[in-house]
């Protein structure tokens, strides 16, 4: 399990408006492309100096491929990154201001303290 890699996915998708749209429209394909092409890129290094060892496990793949943010929370993905990206993905589908954020809280309502550890 790699909380770091989950976070890296959320971080690199969120900062690129085109990838946000691509992930909204095709979560499974975007996840697979990202794991194959992007997961090992060190963000401050050139392509030839990528890492060689970073992969998702099946639980992580499934959560990302189905936009399953409660499972991302359970896996210890950083809640700020998850909230930020999923707000960008789905806020537009809600008429009420903060409608998405409140639905988000509701869908996590079965979690009690202590929350899953987010340390990487």
């Amino acid at each position: 399990m790699s909380k770091y890699l989950l976070n890296k996915f959320l971080f690199t998708i969120d900062r690129d408006p085109q990838l946000v749209e691509r992930y909204r429209e095709d979560p499974s394909g975007t996840m697979a492309w990202w794991e194959a092409e992007q997961a090992n890129k060190i963000l401050n290094c050139i392509d030839g100096e990528a890492s060689t060892w970073l992969t998702f496990d099946d639980t992580e793949r499934s959560a990302l491929a189905t936009h399953d943010y409660p499972t991302l929370f359970a896996l210890g993905a950083h809640p700020f990154l998850t909230l930020t990206l999923f707000t960008a993905l789905f806020k537009r589908d809600h008429i009420e201001p903060l409608g998405f954020q409140r639905e988000y809280a509701q869908r996590l309502s079965h979690f009690a303290l202590p929350y899953p550890d987010i340390a990487t």
């Binding site: 770091y4 976070n7 890296k8 971080f11 969120d14 900062r15 408006p17 060190i42 963000l43 401050n44 929370f73 950083h78 809640p79 700020f80 990154l81 998850t82 909230l83 930020t84 707000t87 960008a88 903060l98 954020q101 409140r102 988000y104 809280a105 509701q106 996590l108 309502s109 079965h110 979690f111 303290l113 202590p114 929350y115 987010i118 340390a119 990487t120």
Partner: protein, 287 residues
């Protein structure tokens, strides 16, 4: 030597900019009172007539990332571009350009290292809403040079609360030993109880009003000892999963000093989180 003319601590609420600039049907019922409170708070900085602002905040996974994460970082650059795409997207924050005070940055870095803080530095730093929100609330003209100080309140393992207080004390000493005739204000923003990306987010109030009440008491009375006796990295999970941002308030208590009663205190209970505003004048009111 430089003069520390004001110490200011507040929450940074990224929705303020939108709320304060919206008109007509878009304007929230709580906006007018919020603006009134922020403008009164702004006057406490204006009155101190600062030349330079030391700005304490925390990058929210914008430029700083988990492959190379500093605990405490000081910017040293002639300019700082500000705000990121996702802050424009979610909070409608404008792109900004701030000037840097490199001489004070260099002083804080050199003397901070010698004082036992292994400070990271950045010569090209794009700053985010933890610093631009207080610029928007306190100095919207953004005409003063800044020194950004970033803390890690976000990506564990974090420094412990005591370390934040100690850094605050050190920043105060270093500002006061800066060989310059300039008037310096130290401004830091953090959070009271706050939940982001968890089940308690975006409620009608902050997730833990009782913690907020205690926190305002600690800050406004300068009760560093009392605060340190209760607040730990573990305890901060209980009031809300983003409450570790409170440690930047503790840093500012360190700048203000043990037992230093704030000269100005105000709060505003809002949905999601409580706003809180504090100003100290180390040399007496607007000396």
């Amino acid at each position: 030597m430089a003069e520390l003319v004001a110490v200011i601590a507040s929450t940074h609420h990224p929705f303020y900019y939108r709320a304060s600039t919206a008109a007509g049907e878009e304007r929230s019922p709580f906006a007018d009172e919020w603006v009134r409170k922020v403008e009164a708070f702004r006057a406490t900085l204006t009155k101190a007539r600062p030349d330079v602002l030391v700005m304490v905040g925390a990058d929210h996974f914008h430029q700083l990332w988990l492959d190379n994460m500093p605990q405490f970082l000081i910017g040293k650059a002639p300019f700082y571009d500000a705000n990121f795409h996702n802050e424009e997207r979610e909070f409608h924050l404008p792109k900004m350009l701030l000037t840097g005070q490199e001489d004070l940055s260099a002083h804080l870095l050199r003397e901070g290292l010698d004082a036992g803080f292994d400070l990271a530095f950045s010569n090209e730093l794009r700053i985010d809403h933890s610093i631009t929100c207080p610029i928007i609330t306190l100095r919207p003209e953004h005409d003063l040079p800044i020194v950004p100080v970033y803390t890690n309140i976000f990506a564990p393992p974090l420094p412990r609360p005591k370390r934040f207080v100690e850094l605050g004390r050190t920043i105060r000493q270093l500002v006061q030993s800066w060989p310059s005739g300039q008037r310096v204000a130290v401004i830091g923003t953090g959070h009271l109880s706050l939940e982001l990306g968890g089940p308690r987010q975006f409620g009608p109030h902050g997730p833990d009003p009782e913690f907020d009440h205690k926190a305002v008491e600690w800050i406004s009375t300068g009760d560093i000892e009392g605060c340190l006796a209760e607040v730990t990295l573990d305890s901060l999970h209980a009031p809300g999963n983003a409450t570790h941002g409170f440690m930047d308030f503790m840093l500012m208590m360190g700048v203000a000093g043990e037992g230093a009663k704030a000269d100005y205190v105000d709060t505003y209970d809002l949905y999601h989180t409580m706003e809180a505003f504090f100003t100290w004048y180390p040399n007496g009111a607007a000396a």
